[in-house]
C-alpha cells in the first residue's frame, strides 16, 4: 500500500521560498562550517529547499544529495549547483517520511535545517533519518523553538490567531523544537537517549529593508502552528 500523500507538497510549491532562502545564505554557510564536513563525505540534506546548506556542504567537498518535497525548490537547487559548477551536489524530489529510494546506511551525515521538521508523521521522519545514516554517522537537525520570543516562533504565533483550528490529531511541526519530543522520536527509531544532544543556536536572516512584505507573502509556514 502506498503511504498517504504528503500534504505539504502543494503548500511549499505555492509560495516562492527561494526569496526567503536568499536571506539565509550567510547563516547557512556558517552552520555548515561547524559540522566537520570533509571531502568525499556522503551527505543527505533533507528538506533542502534550494540548497542553503546543501551547496556549502558540496563546496567543502562532500558528495551531497538534497531532497525536498517541492519540485520548484529542487529545480532551483539544481540550477544553483550548475551555476556554481558543483558536480558533487544534486537535488531530487522526495518525502522525508518515506525515503524508499535511498538505501539503508548510505550517508555519513544527514542534515535537516528547518526542513524535515515540517513533514507530517514525525516518528516516520526520525525512523527514515536513522535508517539512511550509516552506523557511526550523524544526524543534525535545526528546528524552530515553540514559544521562543524570536522571529519565527512569533510569526507562527501571530498567524495561528488568524487561521482556523487545526484538525484533530494534528501534530505541530514546532514539537521538533522540544527536547523531550525529539528524544521520544529518536529513541522510538532505535537511538539511545545518550546519543542525542542539544544546543540553542541563532540563525540570522539578512535582506534589503523591504524584507517584511515579501516574507509575509512568500512564507508558507504562516499556515502552520
Amino acid at each position: 500500500m502506498n503511504a498517504p500523500a504528503n500534504p505539504n507538497k502543494a503548500l511549499w510549491e505555492k509560495g516562492d521560498f527561494t526569496r526567503i532562502a536568499a536571506t539565509m545564505r550567510e547563516s547557512g554557510e556558517a552552520l555548515v562550517g561547524q559540522l566537520g564536513i570533509e571531502k568525499g563525505m556522503k551527505v543527505l540534506d533533507l528538506g533542502c529547499g534550494d540548497g542553503t546548506t546543501a551547496l556549502p556542504a558540496a563546496k567543502l567537498g562532500a558528495d551531497v544529495l538534497g531532497v525536498d518535497i517541492a519540485q520548484n525548490l529542487v529545480d532551483a537547487g539544481n540550477r544553483r549547483a550548475q551555476e556554481m559548477g558543483l558536480t558533487n551536489c544534486r537535488f531530487q524530489q522526495g518525502d522525508a517520511t518515506d525515503l524508499r529510494d535511498l538505501p539503508d546506511h548510505s550517508f555519513d551525515l544527514v542534515v535537516s535545517i528547518f526542513g524535515a521538521m515540517f513533514a507530517p508523521r514525525p516518528n516516520e521522519v526520525a525512523k527514515e533519518m536513522v535508517r539512511v545514516t550509516r552506523p557511526g554517522g550523524r544526524i543534525v537537525m535545526g528546528n524552530w523553538i515553540p514559544g521562543d520570543p524570536t522571529l519565527v516562533a512569533q510569526i507562527l504565533k501571530i498567524s495561528s490567531a488568524y487561521t482556523p483550528p487545526p484538525p484533530e490529531g494534528f501534530v505541530s511541526p514546532m514539537a521538533w523544537g522540544m527536547e523531550n519530543q525529539v528524544i521520544e522520536r529518536f529513541t522510538a527509531a532505535g537511538v539511545a537517549p545518550e546519543k542525542i544532544s542539544f544546543s540553542k543556536e541563532t540563525f540570522t536572516s539578512i535582506a534589503p529593508a523591504h524584507l517584511p512584505r515579501w516574507w509575509m507573502i512568500s512564507e508558507p509556514t504562516t499556515a502552520r502552528r
Binding site: 557511526g136 519565527v152 488568524y162 542539544f198 540553542k200 541563532t202 540563525f203
Partner: protein, 49 residues
C-alpha cells in the same frame, strides 16, 4: 489554509499585516536603514547513530 487567505476571508488581512510588520520592525537588529537583519533562535539536535 495560509494565514493571509484566512484573514482575508474574515476581513482581518490588514490587522494581520500590521501585526507582522510591527514584529519585523521590533526584531530588526540592523543599524542600517537599507538592510534588515533578524536573528531567530533554533534548537540544534545532534544524533550519533
Amino acid at each position: 489554509m495560509n494565514a493571509f487567505a484566512a484573514a482575508e476571508k474574515n476581513g482581518r488581512a490588514a490587522a494581520l499585516q500590521k501585526e507582522l510588520e510591527d514584529l519585523f520592525t521590533s526584531q530588526n537588529k540592523s543599524s542600517s536603514k537599507d538592510t534588515t537583519s533578524i536573528p531567530a533562535a533554533y534548537l540544534r539536535v545532534t544524533v550519533q547513530v
